[in-house]
């Protein structure tokens, strides 16, 4: 009831504001003389403030106290310069100030340092309203909710400076970690299962307030975008209203999840780009640059939260390109100017996002310097640059590989495994009837093992100990590799390999006294000899081993051997040398001290660990490797997750996600949208497409139903929201991963905006085209009913979704009717 009443109030307020705006316009001339005096005073002030001019919201009083501070919402939108509310709404005034300044510039010869501050009551109200709904009982439930498991864990790892690997970029996690840090979190809490209650030491509220804050900023952004596209303030407020009262949005921005942050950055960037249209006639002015730069920063940040944000960025660039294309058609702009515009935009939109992207990674990598749980994915060199972990193993090992070095050879890229051999032979005949050499198997083994040790030997020296003086191995040297425990040399010959018959087999050579001669010489080819003066260094050098007799390279074929090879991976040589699977590096390394075989074996079997300093790897090489792994490492996919859904299911809200289920009561948090909004949104999408086709067909027959302005507005809606929806939705059909409903949220936001725009379009049609004011009134009444039904749904669903700490079981059963498909899942859960 309260909520409904609130909305009614808000509607009134929207109305009053609108009328006030008009009055404001009329008053403007009267006030002009007053403002002139004020401006001159301000001018003086600004001369003093020259330096921190950009900070905007400072002391300068608003020139005309905005009339929209109607008495009924004085509490929320009190715009007097020094209310405590200022803190929460600070980003708004800043933005508005830019806008205000620019409008002033457009009107009259502007005073050089004029700054006017106008507060947008609607934006602030929307922000506050949504912030209140988002932070109310923020620490509830006091357990891990869904993906908080990951993001909370990452925040903890940031606190402990422990390296982790995640295939999404780090900005969002960093923001949460920052909040956690400010709240004094030490990262000691283990995030092991969804539903685990939080320790009182974990600053849950502080971490959750970050998404809540950004999720609330989203609402005024939506409103402003709508207004910017030429839609009415009502429609803007309606869109924001829908977003505020949608359960899915609410749930997504209340917990430690990324979507709220992602959507805010994306939409704010778009808003800036749309604002740029206002400054078409004042290129290179301060507000023009501000819009462009802030837009680039915001869209760049969006990509840094999730790679999926790239689609928002592309949408922004697309809108900009479209505007630019229109400028091309403007004959008043010279080609030279066009070129300049093109360059400026291209420069800002490449340099800024890239800089942001790289700097988030810079922070990421410099914060996380300790070895952690996901190290194995990274190369040896990377691992060695982390404190603890591999660094502690290799820290005291010699660097230069010499004759007599004992080494483990790691397959550098792709699957982690080490060159391995063991006391088992290739079977005489394979299943398909081919024969093998029947020599000792050589494989790639994914675990650390004593059989991974090999001794580097120069062909002309017999002794296996390190010689005095040492004989370092250089790029291009010929070596042999002797297996540590079996003392057999790595050998390749013209026999088809076990699983990849088009490649040569690699074996550890056994002298059977038959026609098969040893071909165990390998040439060392370093990939980065310039880093090490041409010497082969442990960890750092990446190396290819080229078989001397056949000029083929030692390669990890990616295939598994059958049971006789213990399901380890196959090693072959391949004619195509220049490929990634032929790259190896020395990981562990020590010098052989004793020539006695027994001693040597003992030495190999004994492994020691002395913690030491990390090695340094430059930021760029770390970044390069991390990027590479993030983009090309296919993480394991949780197939058939209980709450997974398909993109098509999202349109009709077929399945939600149980975010959190209380262990000892019926309470749960279920991520699911407001069904009324959801279905209306889909309907709006369909009706937009339908109407568009109808209009187009009519226009082709020269029937112009809409005025040119209305038609343009209609097209613009489609260009921004329709295409925005499409680019955020359709790519998921191509994604080969398990998807959840929350992946739909960015697209959903565009759908909401489209819905609000279509509601307005419907009204315009009735009032403007059909000229039926009564029908239009009825229509408005219908919209009112519809809004009421949204609110009522919000209320009923809310009980299921949130803060239901222990309702009666009967209540939950009542909800089932509401929840349609999910009912069975939920009840199943409640029973278990």
């Amino acid at each position: 009831m309260d909520a409904a009443a609130g909305v009614r109030n808000r509607k009134n307020k929207v109305a009053s504001q609108k009328t006030d705006k008009k009055q404001h316009g009329e008053k403007e001339t009267e006030e002009h003389s007053d403002t002139l005096i004020k401006k001159s005073i301000e001018q003086l002030k600004h001369l003093d403030e020259k330096i921190n001019r950009d900070s905007g919201d400072g002391e300068s009083a608003p020139d005309t106290p905005p009339p929209e501070t109607a008495p009924d919402d004085a509490s929320t939108a009190s715009t007097d310069s020094s209310t405590p509310k200022k803190d929460t709404s600070s980003p708004k005034p800043q933005k508005k100030s830019k806008m205000g300044a620019s409008t002033a510039m457009a009107k009259a010869p502007p005073p050089p340092l004029e700054l006017s501050l106008r507060l947008d009551g609607m934006s602030i109200t929307l922000f506050l309203l949504s912030f209140v709904t988002r932070v109310w009982k923020l620490d509830n439930p006091k357990g891990i909710v869904f993906d908080e498991l990951h993001y909370g864990k990452y925040a903890g790892l940031y606190m402990q400076n422990t390296f982790f690997f995640d295939s999404q970029p780090p900005l969002g996690k960093q923001l949460i970690a920052l909040a956690a840090y400010l709240a004094g979190f030490d990262g000691s809490f283990k995030f092991d299962r969804i539903g685990t209650p939080y320790d009182p030491l974990v600053p849950v509220s502080a971490m959750r307030v970050v998404p809540a804050f950004f999720g609330s900023l989203l609402m005024p952004t939506i409103y402003n975008i709508m207004v910017e596209l030429g839609l009415s303030h009502y429609a803007g407020a309606l869109a924001a209203f829908l977003a505020i009262f949608d359960n899915a949005m609410l749930a997504q921005s209340r917990y430690i999840l990324m979507e709220g942050i992602l959507m805010f950055f994306g939409l704010f960037g778009l808003l800036c780009i749309l604002k740029l249209r206002r400054f078409y006639h004042q290129p290179y002015s301060l507000p023009w640059f501000c819009c462009l730069i802030v837009g680039a920063i915001s869209l760049g940040a969006c990509v840094c939260v999730r790679y999926f944000g790239i689609f928002t960025l592309l949408l922004g660039v697309g809108i900009m390109a479209r505007d630019f294309w229109e400028m091309v058609g403007d004959r008043k702009v010279t080609e030279r100017q066009l070129f300049g515009h093109f360059l400026t935009r291209a420069a800002i939109f490449t340099i800024i996002p890239i800089t942001i992207y790289i700097s988030t990674f810079y922070v990421h990598l410099s914060l996380l310097y300790k070895a952690g749980p996901n190290d194995n994915i990274m190369t040896s060199a990377f691992q060695a640059s982390l404190e603890g972990g591999l660094a502690s193993i290799i820290s005291n090992q010699p660097v230069t590989v010499v004759h007599g070095s004992q080494v483990t050879l790691r397959h550098t890229h792709g699957r982690t495994c080490w060159l391995h051999s063991h006391d088992a032979l290739y079977p005489v005949k394979y299943q398909d009837g081919r024969g093998s050499s029947h020599q000792q198997q050589v494989t790639c083994y994914s675990y650390k093992d004593v059989n991974n040790w090999w001794i580097v030997k120069k062909p002309d020296i017999e002794e296996l100990v390190v010689t005095e003086p040492q004989e370092p191995i250089k790029n291009g040297d010929i070596i042999q590799l002797v297996h540590g425990l079996t003392s057999r040399a790595l050998n390749a010959h013209d026999v088809a390999a076990a699983v990849s018959p088009h490649n040569q087999e690699v074996a550890a050579y056994i002298d059977y006294n038959v026609s098969m001669p040893a071909q165990s010489d390998w040439r060392v080819e370093l990939l980065n000899p310039e880093h090490t003066d041409g010497y082969w260094h442990a960890v750092e050098s990446q190396v290819r081993l080229i078989h001397l007799n056949s000029s083929q390279a030692l390669k990890f074929s990616g295939r598994q051997l059958p049971d006789w090879g213990f399901r380890q991976h196959e090693i072959v040589t391949d004619k195509i040398i220049d490929q990634e699977d032929t790259i190896w590096n020395v990981e562990e390394h020590r010098y052989t001290r004793s020539d006695d075989k027994k001693e040597r074996e003992k030495e190999i079997l004994r492994s020691e660990m002395i913690p030491m300093e990390r090695k340094n790897l430059t930021f760029w090489s770390k970044l390069y490797e991390l990027q590479y792994k993030m983009l090309f490492n296919n993480q394991e996919n949780v197939a058939g997750h209980m709450y997974a859904s398909e993109p098509l299911d999202w349109l009709t809200l077929k399945r939600g996600v149980a975010y959190w289920i209380s262990a000892n009561s019926n309470a749960q948090v279920h991520f699911i949208g407001n069904i009324v909004i959801w279905l209306s949104g889909t309907l709006a999408l369909v009706s937009y497409a339908g109407l568009f086709i109808v209009y187009l067909l009519r226009r082709q027959r020269a029937c112009y139903d809409l005025s040119e302005g209305a038609w343009n507005k209609f097209c613009t809606i489609g260009e921004v929201f329709g295409i925005g929806f499409a680019v955020h939705y359709f790519p998921y059909f191509l994604v080969d991963r398990t998807l959840f409903l929350h992946h739909y949220m960015p697209a959903y936001l565009f759908k909401l905006c489209l819905l609000a725009a279509m509601v307005e379009h419907g009204h315009d049609l009735l009032a403007g085209y059909l000229k039926a004011p009564r029908l239009a009134k009825i229509y408005l009444g219908g919209v009112g009913v519809w809004l009421a039904s949204i609110l009522s749904k919000t209320k009923t669903l809310e009980q299921v979704r949130c803060w239901v700490l222990g309702p009666q079981p009967s209540q939950v059963i009542e909800q089932e009717a509401v929840l349609r498909h999910e009912t069975r899942l939920i009840s199943h859960h409640l029973l278990v």
Partner: protein, 735 residues
């Protein structure tokens, strides 16, 4: 091959015009013919050039068509499919049937008896009538060149452009290789090109709508479209292309205000019938023929449902009769209803130590076996308690039951232990002795979409078995157990009850007290069979994923001719599928040039720069032809980036056809524009010179790379100076 082709005559004209003036007379006549050729005015010249191109095509395609005399590459599959059509044996393949049916038909007509097993590439064709099939496929492949000629001619009305475009296709070694063998590709390419030809010709008839010729081309297009879709599903791209083409022309008709709406409606309907309805009907007809011909049980049965199998002669379900309804005490076999699902199976072996409880293994097994038999029991009574004259009790939807493995007497059992492979699921075991187990043996039967208290029926009902205590459902998927499980498929209890892999159906049902009835009345009708074949095909297609570590061909590698494909690696006759690099790389350059020119023109238009009418007209015609060709290329190429399935080099060839035609059009445009850009005294010779250069490069490159297609003999890797080694321009080429 020495005939007076237009190229020859051009080259001759070129030479004579530059050499001397003594043969002035001859030169003049040649020049005249040449100008006729350029202006494309004379009918005889057109026919002369066209026939010459056809003759050259026939000569290159049919040269050595019988070689090699062994099975080449995928002939092992498609030849086999052909044999199966001839033998009427049922099989499963991921592609629609038309292409394979045609191969079967070719074989049947040319005397092949369907007995050759086509075991593996390299098997000798000694005494097999394989030649007919090859020649038929090659003939279809050879049609590509004249088709391209006519398409480009219709699009640009320029004879040189048509010649250029068709010769680019004619001299491509890759196309030559691909269309010479018993494969689906020549058939597919034939239908794709045919569809485009139809669309273009149909468009050319627009001045006489509803004329018989107009109808003829419409029906022709529809027929070709149905052919391309029913050969491979990538044929859908050409459907899309023709659809867009049709929409564009309809849009134009519709926008012409002098056309009344009823006329536009008629146009629309005619096209809907010809291009949508007709292909759909033909598609169904092909499937009908496919399902009618293949009536004998073969190796594809297991992919299909029990009901489907009951229609195949020789299958154990064929003409079988058993009770419809499931009664307590019946002995049944349960088949996982997933495509390719096996039978619920158990054997006396136990799960090894460390893998859950050491109880008897439960798996699924694809073959029919005594160990697949299960006894249906009430949850609280043993069958022995019943008297013989007790009334038969039927199992109903929602009943609680136990299932006893007949040979070992253990009950189907589950408990909260992780499953051996899928750790998130619960383990399924066989438990108890002589049918006596514990409360964890109780399962609830659910009929999918069934009413309450509905009796469970054999074969047609999809069932779900939900564990009574844990609440998970019996499930099987295609993950194999390790060696200790004899690599049979894992069976688990899935906590996600609504997983599609949880469904089972009863296949055999033995219960003497109930009357047996034949399955004939439950036999799926054509529509059901049609739909089922499609689900199976789509699942099969999406299942063609590269395995871990397997190197697959990437779409970006194709246009640059990065890597070819061995067709025949037998010593003495090696064939390697690789495009003619001159043509392929040239295509890319031209494509880039087109994009550049297009953007430049768009920019000029947007800036409002105008040209004289003639230039503009010529440019617009070329640009629209190029636009459509680029669209066709993009439609046949870009979607591969989004495909998760395993991809091969030869998937690029449809796109290549369009790319080559585009090159022909653009080069002609440039050649025609060039004379006006160079000094006057060069203007007359620049065109013939460049044309001559172009054709001689083309022919020389064909001569260089032809051994890849016609077979490389006795390659000795040590002989570094052999031609084949000289043409190995990229390290990634594997010959």
């Amino acid at each position: 091959m020495a005939q007076d082709t237009p190229k020859k005559s051009k080259a001759g004209a070129n030479k004579s015009s530059t050499s001397s003036s003594s043969h002035l007379n001859v030169e003049l006549t040649i020049d005249k013919v040449f100008m006729k050729y350029r202006r494309s005015e004379s009918g005889p010249v057109w026919w002369g050039v066209f026939l010459a191109v056809c003759a050259l095509t026939a000569a290159t395609r049919f040269y050595n068509v019988g070689e090699p005399k062994h099975v080449v590459w995928d002939e092992t599959h498609f030849g086999k499919f052909g044999s199966w059509y001839i033998n009427r044996t049922f099989f499963f393949d991921v592609h629609p049937p038309l292409g394979k049916m045609l191969i079967g038909a070719f074989g049947y007509m040319t005397g092949y008896d369907g007995t050759f097993p086509f075991v593996k590439p390299g098997d000798s064709y000694d005494g097999v009538h394989y030649l007919g099939m090859r020649v038929c496929c090659t003939t279809l492949g050879a049609c590509l060149v004249p088709f391209a000629f006519i398409i480009v001619w219709q699009m640009t009305q320029s004879l040189p452009a048509a010649t250029l475009a068709s010769s680019l296709i004619l001299f491509d070694v890759g196309l030559l290789t691909l269309t010479q063998y018993i494969l689906l590709d020549p058939i597919l390419l034939f239908f794709i090109m045919g569809s485009v030809l139809g669309a273009v010709m149909f468009h050319a008839q627009k001045h006489r709508p509803f004329h018989p010729v107009w109808w003829g081309w419409l029906v022709f297009t529809g027929f070709m479209l149905s052919g391309s879709v029913s050969t491979k599903f990538v044929g859908l791209f050409v459907v899309l292309y023709v659809g867009l083409h049709t929409i564009a022309s309809l849009w134009e008709l519709y926008g012409d205000l002098s056309n009344p709406l009823s006329l536009v409606g008629k146009h629309f309907l005619a096209r809907a019938v010809g291009l949508i309805l007709l292909p759909v009907i033909l598609y169904c007809v092909y499937f009908y023929i496919h399902l009618t011909i293949l009536c004998k049980s073969g190796n594809g049965d297991g992919f299909y449902s029990s009901a489907f199998q009951s229609q195949l002669e020789g299958n154990s379900l064929y003409n079988a009769s058993m009770p419809f309804e499931l009664a307590y005490g019946a002995e049944v076999t349960l088949k996982n209803a997933r495509t390719g699902g096996g039978y619920l199976h158990s054997h006396i072996h136990l799960y090894p130590e460390g893998v859950g409880a050491r109880q008897q293994q439960i798996t699924t097994y694809s073959h029919k076996d005594f160990n697949n038999k299960w006894l249906v029991k009430k949850w609280n009574e043993e069958p022995g308690d019943w008297e013989d004259d007790d009334p038969t009790e039927l199992v109903k939807n929602g009943d609680l039951i136990r299932l006893e493995h007949v040979p070992t007497g253990r009950n189907l059992h589950s408990h909260r232990e992780p499953s051996p492979v899928t750790r998130r699921h619960h383990q399924i075991t066989g438990y108890g002795e002589n049918g006596e187990g514990d409360v964890n043996d109780v399962w609830r039967v659910e009929v999918v979409g069934g009413e309450e208290e509905e009796v469970v029926k054999t074969v047609i009902h999809k069932l779900r078995f939900v564990h009574y205590l844990v609440g998970c459902a019996l499930m099987s998927h295609n993950k194999q157990l390790p060696k200790w499980g004899y690599e049979q498929m894992e069976v688990t209890c899935n906590p996600n009850v609504h997983d599609p892999n949880n469904l089972w159906n009863i296949e055999d049902n033995v219960f003497p007290n109930l009357p047996n009835s034949s399955f004939e009345i439950y036999a799926p009708n054509f529509l059901e069979k049609f739909l089922e074949s499609h689900t199976v095909m789509f699942q099969g297609n999406s299942g063609l994923k590269p395995k871990e570590g397997e190197i697959t061909s990437q779409p970006w590698q194709w246009p640059i001719n990065f890597k070819g494909q061995w067709f025949s690696a037998i010593d003495g006759f090696k064939v390697y599928l690789l495009g003619n690099p001159i043509i392929w790389w040239g295509n890319l350059v031209v494509l880039a040039a087109f994009v550049f020119v297009y953007v430049y023109q768009a920019y000029r238009r947007q800036r409002g720069v105008s040209d004289d009418r003639q230039t503009k007209e010529r440019r617009e015609r070329t640009m629209s032809a190029c636009g459509w060709l680029v669209l066709a290329w993009a439609l046949h190429y870009l979607p591969f980036y989004a495909m998760g399935r395993i991809l091969y080099f030869h998937h690029y060839f449809p796109a290549l056809l369009f790319s080559s035609m585009l090159t022909g059009v653009i080069i002609d445009y440039l050649l025609e524009s060039l004379p006006s850009l160079v000094p006057q005294y060069l203007a007359s010779s620049v065109y013939p010179a460049l044309t001559g250069l172009f054709y001689s490069t083309l022919i020389y490159s064909f001569y260089l790379f032809a051994p890849l297609a016609y077979g490389m003999h006795n390659l000795d890797p040590t002989f570094e100076n052999s031609t084949v080694h000289q043409i190995r321009w990229l390290d990634s080429w594997e010959f």
